[in-house]
Symmetry: C2
Subunit: 349 residues, 2 copies
C-alpha cells in the first residue's frame, strides 16, 4: 500500500503569498519556495499535483479581512484546488495511482494527515466521467458553481431568457449549456469575437454579446437579443454590466451573484449596482452563492453533467498554461480577460 521510498528524492516547489496586493497582483506579491516532500503518517497520503485550478476567487483570498473563507496568510502556500494522483499511501482507502481532486495549493506535492483528508477535500475522481482537466472545469468547482447557482437559485423554466457574463469562462460555459439543456434562451456576455463565436457555434448559446466591441455593446446587445427581457442573470463580473442587465430584468427575475471579477482589483470602493431599484419595480431577487454549501449534492451534479459530456450535449474548454513558475502571470489572464475557457495550470502529465 505504501510507496514512500521515492519521496525523499523529490523536491516540492511552491508558490507562497509574500505580500497582499494593491490592485492587480504582481510577481512581487509571491515567493517561490521549495521543501522536502514529507512521508505520510499512518492513515495519511502523499499526492502529486498534475493540474491546478486558477480561479478569479483567488484574488479575494489574497485580501485581508472577513470573507466566506479566511484569507491566505502571508507566507502560506497560495490556496488552489487541483487534481493529481496518490504517490504514497498509508490509508487503505487510497491506493498509489488513484486519481484525486484536493485542495492542493500552488505546489507540486501535498502530504495530508488522516485527520486533514476531509478539510483538504481529498476525493477520488473517475476519469471515465471526464478528463483530468474537465474535473477542474465542468466536473469541478466551476461546474458545481454554475450548476447549483443556475438550478437552485435561478430555477430556470423552459422558454425563459438566461444571461450569463463571463460566458466563455469556466462557470459561464456550464451555466449557459445547462440553461440550454433546460430549454432556455441563452445569451452570453464575453470579451472578444473569438469567445463569442465559440459559445454560439460550439456551445449552442442563442447569442453572445462582445462587451469589448463598443461602449454601448452590452446595452444594445441586451436590447437586440433579449426582446422579452432577462429572467435569469448569472453574474460573474459585476460593474457596469450588472447595471445594464438590471435595467432589462423581467418581473420576478432572479440574479445569481457568483462573483464580480471587474471589481476584484479595484483600489477604490466597489461599484455598487446603481440600478438595484429595478429589483423593486420588477419584484426581482438578487442572491449570493458560495459553492461549498452544495457539497453534499456535488455527486448529483457530477452524475448529470458527466452524462451530458458523454452524449455530447455539453462541451468544455480549458485554457492550459504550463509550469509552476508561470503562475504569477498566468493568474493575470483571468483579470485582463485573456483566458479562453477554464484556466488550468498544468504541472505534470
Amino acid at each position: 500500500m505504501s510507496n514512500t521510498s521515492i519521496l525523499s528524492t523529490l523536491t516540492n516547489h511552491q508558490v507562497r503569498l509574500a505580500s497582499r496586493p494593491v490592485g492587480l497582483p504582481t510577481r512581487a506579491n509571491w515567493a517561490f519556495a521549495s521543501e522536502a516532500v514529507a512521508e505520510p503518517a499512518e492513515g495519511g497520503v502523499t499526492l502529486k499535483a498534475l493540474a491546478l485550478s486558477l480561479d478569479p476567487a483567488m484574488r479575494g483570498w489574497m485580501n485581508e479581512g472577513k470573507s466566506y473563507i479566511p484569507p491566505v496568510g502571508i507566507g502560506e502556500v497560495m490556496r488552489a484546488g487541483g487534481v493529481g494522483q496518490v504517490i504514497a499511501s498509508k490509508n487503505p482507502a487510497y491506493a498509489v495511482g488513484d486519481q484525486v481532486s484536493a485542495g492542493f495549493g500552488i505546489q507540486q506535492y501535498l502530504t495530508v494527515a488522516q485527520a486533514d483528508l476531509k478539510r483538504t477535500a481529498v476525493s477520488k475522481i473517475d476519469l471515465k466521467l471526464g478528463s483530468l482537466t474537465q474535473w477542474l472545469n465542468v466536473l469541478g468547482m466551476p461546474g458545481m458553481t454554475g450548476y447549483f447557482g443556475l438550478m437552485d437559485i435561478g430555477q430556470p423554466k423552459p422558454g425563459e431568457t438566461v444571461v450569463v457574463s463571463g460566458a466563455a469562462g469556466a462557470v459561464g460555459q456550464t451555466v449557459g449549456q445547462m440553461a440550454k439543456i433546460k430549454g432556455c434562451r441563452v445569451v452570453g456576455i464575453a470579451g472578444g469575437a473569438a469567445k463569442c463565436d465559440w459559445v454560439v457555434k460550439e456551445l449552442g448559446f442563442d447569442a453572445c454579446i462582445d462587451y469589448k466591441a463598443s461602449p454601448s455593446a452590452v446595452r444594445e446587445g441586451l436590447k437586440a437579443h433579449c426582446p422579452n427581457g432577462v429572467d435569469i442573470y448569472f453574474d460573474n463580473v459585476g460593474g457596469e454590466i450588472l447595471d445594464h442587465v438590471l435595467a432589462k430584468i423581467t418581473r420576478g427575475a432572479r440574479i445569481i451573484i457568483c462573483g464580480a471579477i471587474s471589481q476584484y482589483n479595484n483600489t477604490t470602493a466597489i461599484q455598487g449596482p446603481k440600478n438595484y431599484l429595478s429589483l423593486l419595480m420588477n419584484r426581482g431577487m438578487m442572491k449570493g452563492m458560495v459553492v461549498f454549501d452544495y457539497a453534499d449534492r456535488y455527486h448529483v451534479a457530477i452524475a448529470e453533467m458527466a452524462g451530458y459530456l458523454k452524449d455530447g450535449r455539453m462541451k468544455s474548454k480549458e485554457d492550459i498554461v504550463h509550469g509552476i513558475d508561470t503562475f504569477p502571470e498566468a493568474l493575470l489572464k483571468l483579470f485582463n480577460g485573456e483566458n479562453f475557457g477554464k484556466l488550468v495550470l498544468k504541472l505534470a502529465d
Copy 2:
C-alpha cells in the same frame, strides 16, 4: 339609494401635476384646480375624501419612465390613496354613508363609474377594525407593505434580528411591531431622538438608532445593537444605511427592498450598494417588493393586525396635516424626515 341633489352645490378642489420635478418637488410643480362634482352614472358612486395618504412612493410616480405603475401624466390629478364616504350611489352595493378606501387622488371628491370601481380600488372599510387614519396606516397600503414584505420575503423566525429603516414611518412601525410579535429582536433606524424613543418605549422595539446623531451612528449602532448580525433588513431608505447593514448581515440574510427614500430626489444617479458583495459572502438575498402583488391576501393581514390593534399588541401613529392647500409642503415632510408616523392629509371630518 341615490342622493345626488346636493352634488351640484359642491366644488371639487384638486391638485394636479403641472410639471415634473428635478430634485425635490416645489409648489411650481403643482396646479390647483377645481371642477364640478359629477353625478354618478347608473352603477356608479360619488365619494367624498376625508383623509388622503401621503407616501414616499408619490415621488416616483411624478417621474417619467417605466416603473411598476405608469407615471402620473402632466395635467392629471396627483395619484393618492385615501379614505372617505359614499355621498351618492347608483350602485346597490354601496349606500350613502358607507366608509370606503379608494384611489382618490389629491382631491375632495371622486365620482367612479361602475366599470372603474375595481381599478379605483373602491373598497368598504369597517371602522370597528380600526380608525379612519389607521385604515391609511397599519390597515392600509403601508401596513400591507410591511406585513407582506416582512412575512413573505423576510420569513422571520423567533430569535432572529430584524432591522428596519424609516422605523417611525408608516411601513416601519408595522414591520417592527410585527417582527416583535413574531419573536424577533428588532432594531429600528430613525431620524431624531423623539422617533427613536417612541419606537422603543411605545412600540417595544429592542433598540433604535438615530441616524442623525452622528456620521458614525448607524455603523456603531448596528455593532452595539446587533451583536449577532442582521438576519432580516427591511429597507425603506437605501443609500449609506443600506451599505452599513449589508456589512453586518448574517449567513442567509434576507433584505427586503421596499424603497429608497434617500435617493428619490437625487439629481444625480442612484447610489448603488457598494457592499452588495456581502450578499455573496453571506449567501444573502435582496428582493424587491410591490404591495399590489399581495392584494388577494390583504384581508388576511387586515384581520390579523386588527386583532393586534384591538388587544393592544400593535399601536399606530399618524402625523396629520390639514387641508388640500397644504399638500405641496406637506409632501416634503416625507423627504426631510419631518413626518413622525404615517403622513395623512385630512380634508374633512
